[in-house]
């Protein structure tokens, strides 16, 4: 049986609804329609009254979830696209994010953000917003890159007492398939060595893990380079132990991400490695992100806007030639 990434998200929600009466789903078009990406298909029928269509009101969607969490529920909110969570920004960072620190009462809720670029999606259906939510205190931000992680990390996210921003990558929805959802038992906050290596480390997350592995394979064929790929899995908090241990082995770091280049995950990774593991570095750490413009619509511009295996290899060659 082959399971696609988006199916794993659906299965996880099915599992959660079945096992945990505190769980319910709230979002636009998620009930009988099954959601814009079919991540909730069939769930409204299987769990009557627990999969609710919301009005087009992202701010109130999160406010509702915070209220429900206060009453002991475990809401999962689906944003139709991550980009529309900009409307819910205030409720996410100021209502949900501050609650535990202010009151001592945690608000367990999960926000699913269909994230990242796909060809033709343009500036408002392609964004990666993990940096925005990670900057504010109080939130956990996860970015699963594999089918099994999509499944297990969603279940773990809902089990956490704190608000979790679950960034699922739309490009992986149907493209990424696996023979099953069996996981490797990693806890939520741990990074994973996706591909071991010794000459350099690529630290990345979400869909870019796959581009990094492709680039690493090419570098291997091309010059026998053994590139280690670290999948952060969780970007807030960061598993610096795994990252530093990898850099200690390889001496070289490329931080890779699909988000905009100012600040964000790659800045945090490079700056923490430079501060905490300066002596481990044999070469200047490198960063590689998408460009500092909105995500363009045209597939040709889009492909040039984000890192690809070709351009990642260019960066790697520079890194290795230092």
């Amino acid at each position: 049986m082959s399971v696609a990434y988006v199916d794993a998200i659906r299965e996880a929600q099915d599992h959660l609804l079945r096992e945990d009466p505190r769980v319910f789903l709230y979002g636009q078009d998620i009930s009988h329609f099954g959601g814009a990406f079919k991540a909730t298909k069939g769930l409204a029928e299987a769990y009557p009254g627990r999969v609710l269509d919301s009005p087009i009101s992202e701010d109130s969607m999160i406010g509702m979830a915070v209220g429900a969490a206060l009453e002991g529920m475990r809401p999962i909110v689906e944003m139709q696209f991550a980009d529309f969570s900009s409307i819910a920004f205030n409720q996410i960072v100021n209502q949900a994010g501050t609650h535990f620190y202010r009151t001592g009462v945690p608000v367990p809720l999960t926000v699913r953000l269909p994230s990242g670029g796909t060809p033709g999606s343009g500036p408002f259906h392609s964004q990666s917003m993990e940096a925005i939510y990670s900057h504010y205190p109080g939130l956990v931000v996860v970015t699963p890159a594999t089918v099994a992680d999509a499944y297990h990390m969603l279940i773990q996210a809902v089990s956490v007492d704190d608000p979790v921003i679950y960034c699922e990558h739309k490009f992986l929805y149907r493209w990424l398939k696996s023979s099953g959802i069996e996981g490797d038992g990693l806890p939520l906050g741990a990074a994973r060595i996706t591909r071991p290596g010794k000459h350099a480390t690529i630290v990345t997350y979400s869909a870019m893990v796959h581009e990094a592995v492709r680039a690493a394979d090419r570098m291997q064929e091309e010059g026998g380079w053994e590139i280690e790929v670290v999948d952060l899995r969780t970007v807030k908090p960061l598993d610096m132990d795994t990252v530093l241990a990898s850099v200690a082995r390889t001496g070289r770091l490329l931080a890779l991400g699909e988000a905009f280049p100012w600040g964000g995950v790659t800045a945090e990774v490079v700056s923490r490695v430079s501060s905490e593991g300066f002596h481990l570095l044999d070469a200047p750490p490198k960063r590689f992100n998408s460009r500092d413009t909105p995500v363009p619509y045209h597939p040709k511009l889009w492909a040039a806007h984000r890192p690809t295996p070709e351009t990642i290899c260019l960066a790697m060659r520079e890194l290795l030639s230092y």
Partner: protein, 317 residues
């Protein structure tokens, strides 16, 4: 109500004496509206999400007065332990959410609490209420929250205290409808109008609105016309309120009217009211004294943690 007025009068003088930092926000003139709403709700069953000018409603709902003094004075023993202050306090697991500053944001939070009760099968007979000002109705959060509550037909009461000004901004720069009550129909909710200076009228109207919500008639919107008899905060002298408005019908003090109404209706006489006043003054004095004796939060002991979970321990349950 009496408690609220006494308490806030004290807080105002403490602020002026430099004993409270950050600001003091009073509900002076709005006690009748707020307390009559809070009084219609039952602690332990209902939900009340107060806003800026709701000391009256908090006290009537059952928030211990010590929560107020501790939070204003930043006591480490208070519900917010010095991490948040003044009106930003609550007991969120007892149906009293702690407001954030962003106006309108509580409407959906209360709705979510009610929705949760419904899903749990515990909504029967429960009401959730929250307050907002004339200015707060201009926020997208108010609109989205009330609309969503109406769609779910939740037992929500939104009390709009139309005190004619939002900080300095008069109603004609805030909205263009004749009466905020006209909004109720557009949300498909029931609307109620009341003179917010008239205590008995407030009691009747709030009771009616809360009852209707309890009976399952969906969200209720109460619009109370009144004036705040103080500045936005104690740093503000409200000089933007024209003398004609102050001396007009909204400028009446609901406390005086309430006292007169009680006497007139035979509910209490002057001496009883005076004795209440004294009792309340005592209680306020004690709550302030207690909070003042308590330790400040200690930054060295502070747990600088905005999350409750150590993620590395989270595996599949």
């Amino acid at each position: 109500m009496l408690e609220a007025r006494q308490l806030e009068t004290k807080l105002a003088s403490l602020y002026k004496a430099g004993k409270i930092v950050g600001g003091v926000y009073l509900g002076k003139g709005q006690e009748a509206v707020s307390a009559s709403l809070g009084g219609c709700l039952e602690w332990g069953r209902d939900i009340f999400a107060p806003l800026i000018r709701d000391q009256g409603g908090r006290s009537a709902f059952g928030e211990p007065i010590i929560d107020c003094t501790r939070t204003y004075l930043g006591s480490a023993e208070g519900p917010m332990r010095g991490r948040d202050g003044n009106i930003h306090r609550g007991r969120p697991t007892s149906g009293l959410p702690a407001m954030i500053s962003h106006l309108g944001a509580s409407v959906s939070v209360v709705s979510g609490m009610l929705l949760a009760r419904r899903i749990k099968g515990e909504l029967d007979g429960v009401v959730g209420a929250t307050s907002i000002g004339d200015g707060g109705t201009s926020t997208g959060a108010f609109h989205e929250g009330l609309n969503a509550a109406a769609v779910e037909k939740l037992p929500l009461v939104v009390a709009v205290a139309n005190n004619q000004f939002a900080y300095s901004t008069p109603n004609e720069r805030q909205f263009a409808c004749d009466d905020l009550l006209d909004r109720a129909r557009g949300y498909g909710v029931e609307g109620h109008d009341v003179d917010g200076t008239d205590f008995l009228a407030c009691l009747r109207t709030m009771a009616e609105a809360v009852d209707r919500a309890r009976q399952g008639r969906g969200p209720q919107m109460v619009v109370a016309r009144l004036l705040r008899l103080s500045g936005h905060g104690e740093h503000d002298d409200a000089s933007y309120v024209p003398e004609t408005v102050r001396s007009g019908p909204y400028g009446r003090d609901c406390m005086d009217i309430a006292a007169a109404q009680m006497v007139e209706s035979g509910y209490a006489d002057e001496t009883e009211i005076e004795s209440w006043r004294e009792a309340v003054t005592d209680e306020v004095q004690r709550a302030l004294a207690t909070a003042q004796r308590e330790p400040d939060p200690n930054p060295w002991d502070e747990r600088w943690e905005a999350r409750s979970t150590n993620l590395l321990t989270v595996t599949d349950p």
